[in-house]
Symmetry: C2
Subunit: 177 residues, 2 copies
Amino acid sequence: MQGSQEVVVLRYGHRPGRDDRMTTHVGLTARALGADRVIFPDNATQGADTVADITDRFGGPFEIEQTDSQAAVVRNWAGPVVHLTMYGLPIDDVEGEIQAAVEADPLLVVVGGEKVPFDLYDHADWNVGVTNQPHSEVAGLAVFLDRFFEGRELDTEWVDAERTVIPKATGKKVVSG
Amino acid sequence: MQGSQEVVVLRYGHRPGRDDRMTTHVGLTARALGADRVIFPDNATQGADTVADITDRFGGPFEIEQTDSQAAVVRNWAGPVVHLTMYGLPIDDVEGEIQAAVEADPLLVVVGGEKVPFDLYDHADWNVGVTNQPHSEVAGLAVFLDRFFEGRELDTEWVDAERTVIPKATGKKVVSG
């Protein structure tokens, strides 16, 4: 988010077709809730295109990258790595430590698809559960980011937007620019 | 959530095939993050089956219903209705009012699919935006519930679970019961 260390979301694992919408929603949620960048696997082309298109229309700054080596991104990350997983430690117990660790270095938040390699659990500095219940990687990412940024992500000022939604009690209002 | 007024999530609109996973994730997120019940459209059979299966395995209480008239559920609801939409008022501005309104009556949280009828905006007591950016109905629901329950939903005690995940710093631990 503007004015703080970089926060990057890595979507780990993607099955074209089946995962297209989930991967897209991971990227759009990362953008809307304060991350600076999303990294998708090489094969998530449709998701990358959609997130780039939304960024063009609704503004940035937000970067979309693709990688052919998700494992290397995690291994070589120069800062703390959080892996969101239903098997991890309760977010209530670790969110303060994570916030403190990110004051100096950029944060990588890894969001798994159906299967992640076991050594991801070892490479992560924190395996974090947004509940220990099966639900949705998109929901877990959203709660994590809202808590990490303590709600400040909702005040983002979008730059270079072609269109802007004006909040309304009823109905829809969209203006250009 | 146990010990408070009922909170029910209505998934409004579902296209079989295309929306199966999103609808399932709406239901699983509702369950994991403190809602008491989800109402799916009649045609969301796969989502209903999956959420029921997860509830059998990981515990309740949580109810899954299907309806042939989503509009009537909204119209006849005996309590406040929140509609989550990127066109609505900022959640920061209305979450306190919504919490206060629910002290006496059950809350309906409507989560739209791609298209919702325009009069839903009129029937809702609050149209609420978790950002005014396009992202994910699952992410919006997750942030709304976490803020509505102020994090207490993470302390849910699950009943009649066949399996329970034990939080771990690294790796996976699941026990029976």
